[in-house]
């Protein structure tokens, strides 16, 4: 069919459709070009600034794992003894992570209440609370922990403080998003019967958001176990510090023992938190706005 035969309004529609298709096409081409550009410059910069080249690295990729496994195999049954040896260190790290998650989550809860526009009507307070959370969140734990380690000496405390601060910021943001997305009807209902601000939060908001908050908290606990392991590398103690020493001395069998423990813990925690989250908020852990 020729364009001329079309009625006016259909012609208009088709023109618009073509126009939109062209814009979309343009956007896709631009974004693909941008991605290719970023990838190529990135690999170029990487090739320039890396100590070894990519091709050589690929050749050596399996050397280290194979060497580790060979040493593990040589160790035989004593390897299981090594695994047991490092359980106390693992518990130490776990202790750090759990404690900082609990304290961080409590701080996050307090901050998030003040950062939620539906609970606090004063815009200045909401703005301030949000900025406080932004600042807490922006610092990578490691930067804070190294600085505090330098000031306080080698102990788990700097790491715990650093994780608490980061957790308060990160969880606070998620908490306040969850609270702001809570249904307002309950709060209004409680307000209509003359309840106080605290009881509105206790009976109107908390029952709605508690499962979401708990699942976020669980997820954070998992992240914090990883974080406190890493902070062990820079002097906070625990299994991270042990792993660092072992790698420096190249004790192959013991390295795999520690790695095994770490992977086991992380995987178990992952399954545990997914399972509990599923119980708490059911299935999908992506929460659309309208639900």
């Amino acid at each position: 069919m020729n364009n001329k035969e079309l009625p006016n309004h259909l012609k208009y529609l088709e023109d618009n459709l073509n126009k939109m298709a062209r814009t979309r096409m343009l956007y896709s081409v631009i974004s693909i070009a941008a991605i290719i550009l970023i990838l190529s410059t990135g690999t170029y910069v990487a090739e320039e600034s890396n100590a070894g080249s990519f091709v050589r690295g690929i050749d050596n990729f399996f050397d280290y794992p194979i060497a580790l496994f060979a040493k593990t195999f040589d160790a035989g049954f004593s390897w299981f003894g090594y695994v047991l040896d490092y359980v106390p260190d693992l518990l130490y790290t776990f202790n750090m992570a759990l404690f900082s998650t609990i304290v961080g989550a409590i701080l996050a809860l307090i901050l998030s209440v003040f950062a939620s526009g539906n609970l606090i009507k004063n815009k200045t307070i909401v703005w301030t609370a949000r900025r406080i959370m932004d600042i807490c969140r922006a610092f990578p734990e490691l930067v804070l922990a190294i600085t505090l380690l330098y000031l306080l000496g080698r102990s788990p405390i700097p790491a715990v403080i650093a994780i608490i601060i980061h957790t308060a910021g990160a969880l606070g943001k998620l908490f306040s998003e969850a609270i702001e997305n809570a249904d307002n009807k309950q709060i209004e209902g409680l307000e209509s019967v003359g309840s106080s601000w605290l009881s509105r939060i206790r009976f109107g908001v908390l029952p709605q958001v508690m499962p979401i908050l708990l699942s976020y908290g669980l997820l954070r606990a998992e992240i914090n176990v990883r974080a406190s392991t890493i902070l062990g590398f820079v002097g906070a103690g625990g299994i991270g510090e042990q792993l660092n020493t072992l790698i420096q001395w190249n004790f192959g069998a013991k390295i795999t023992a520690v790695m095994f423990l770490l992977i086991l813990t992380i995987t178990l925690l992952d399954y545990f938190s997914t399972f509990t989250r599923q119980k708490l908020i059911g299935g999908s852990f992506i929460i659309p706005k309208d639900k």
Binding site: V45, F54, A138, P140, Y150, F233, T267
Partner: protein
């Protein structure tokens, strides 16, 4: 009325008559958390926190982060010979013809004038200081002399209670520290004065740079001037080079490290999203043709995720050496697993109707995926990739400190040497700014692309 309330009571008995055991359970959980917290508080050593914390040390480091000091050194044998150096460096000595304006030389003495109007005079055989400490002590004239080859405060005995608290006399040394901004050390052979000032000096151009003697307005004119300081290159170029090669602040090194860190995060996340999305199709039960493929890809995702990026970085560090590849691959490997898992779950949860609609028009399988599935998972994909991008900026800093390079390693190095805390402060401010900008950028992009949809989950 009675009847209604009875029915009502029965219907909502779970709300109105909460069982005692339910109360007990919540109290039990609360008790568990509190008792664990108390246990952890003591087992982690928080009660010993005050023993470890050295306020003087911390105050000194914090002061170092926002101030700089000039050293004034001389010897008792010849007090007319004075050297002044920036931060006491061997290569940052001021030219004797060009001493700072707070240092006055007279025929029989040198005077150092401090910001609080206090003065230290260096005579041939003694040092006099006046105008330091609190209001009462300001009128006190303190004289330091060598007595039998040992430094003493004139008019005071060794541990005189009348001495101001900020003077400490020991066997071989008199240490005077009225406030954080002034310090005088008198030894039996030499004299050292530290004069602190607020600010980051030589931030733009280092000590040896020819641009130091110009004021900011002169520099602005010089920037556009055609009178070349260095005949080889233009003034603007010269200024830029001088800025980057700053010996005190290492701008060039800091910026290239920051660039490395950003590249690690961006490229690692890009690779992770590309591979994660492709593999997610194979791992989704409603797409994949073979069940065993799904099983293997799932386990593959799990192992990528379970082996934490810490361990990946250790393995890659051995293979690729310190550098960008280690960081990029560690991020790409870990996040391929996580993003792949999330994406495959998202694909499994899509509405079938759209896919069937596309199929009914006679579309091929690939077209079905393109027009039936991709539009549905795009919001999840975009928001998740951007969330990961956000958190990977932080991960890249951490990876850097683990040995991959970038700003993380530079930060760790500069704090471990412990000398220049102002560099540490500078770097942490830069890290904060970069992380903040990345966050803002990714939030802006997310809002642009998918609107204000609440898809909240982060690593």
């Amino acid at each position: 009325m009675d009847k209604v309330s009875k029915e009502f009571l029965e219907k909502h008995s779970d709300v109105i008559n909460i069982k005692f055991s339910k109360y007990l359970r919540s109290f039990f959980y609360l008790f568990l958390i509190i008792s664990y917290s108390i246990f952890a508080f003591y087992s982690l050593g928080f009660n010993k926190l005050t023993d470890q914390f050295k306020p003087d040390f911390a105050a000194k480091l914090i002061q170092d982060s926002y101030s700089y000091k000039d050293h004034i050194n001389t010897k008792w044998s010849d007090t007319s010979d004075v050297t002044i150096s920036y931060e006491g460096g061997a290569f940052t000595k001021y030219d004797p013809k060009d001493f700072p304006e707070w240092f006055l030389s007279d025929t029989n003495k040198h005077s150092v004038i401090f910001n609080n109007q206090g003065i230290i005079d260096i005579f041939k055989d003694r040092i006099e200081m006046k105008g330091f400490g609190d209001e009462e002590e300001k009128n006190l004239l303190l004289t330091f002399k060598l007595l039998n080859g040992k430094p003493t405060v004139e008019g005071y005995t060794f541990d005189d209670p009348k001495l101001p608290k900020w003077i400490r006399v020991t066997e071989n040394k008199v240490e005077v520290r009225p406030s954080l901004f002034e310090r005088l050390q008198v030894y039996s052979e030499k004299i050292e004065i530290h004069r602190f000032q607020f600010g980051w000096k030589y931030f733009f151009f280092d000590f040896a740079s020819p641009f130091n003697k110009y004021s900011s307005s002169e520099l602005f004119l010089l920037f556009f001037s055609s009178n070349r300081l260095d005949p080889e290159i233009s003034n603007a170029r010269f200024m830029f080079n001088e800025f980057l090669s700053n010996e005190q602040w290492f701008h060039g090194l800091v910026f290239s490290s920051l660039r490395d860190t950003i590249f690690m995060a961006v490229i690692g996340t890009l690779f992770a999203t590309i591979f994660g999305l492709l593999l997610a199709f194979l791992a989704a039960i409603n797409i994949t043709p073979f069940n065993f493929v799904r099983f293997f890809i799932r386990r593959f995702f799990d192992s990528l995720r379970g082996i934490d990026f810490l361990i990946w970085s250790l393995i890659f560090l051995r293979a690729f050496g310190p550098g960008l590849y280690t960081g990029i691959l560690a991020i790409a490997f870990t996040d391929t697993g996580t993003l792949g898992k999330i994406m495959s779950e998202a694909i499994e949860n899509i509405e079938k109707n759209q896919n069937e609609g596309v199929e009914s028009t006679g579309a091929t399988r690939n077209q079905q995926h393109r027009f039936g599935i991709i539009p549905q998972i795009l919001p999840v994909f975009v928001s998740q990739s951007l969330y990961y991008f956000e958190s990977n900026t932080r991960s890249a800093v951490i990876l850097g400190a683990m040995g991959a390079g970038g700003i993380g390693l530079l930060f760790l190095d500069s704090i471990m040497t412990g000398a220049n805390f102002e560099n540490v402060a500078y770097m942490s401010i830069l890290i904060l700014i970069v992380v903040f900008l990345m966050d803002t950028f990714s939030q802006w992009l997310r809002r642009k692309l998918i609107g204000n949809v609440f898809v909240a989950i982060v690593k």
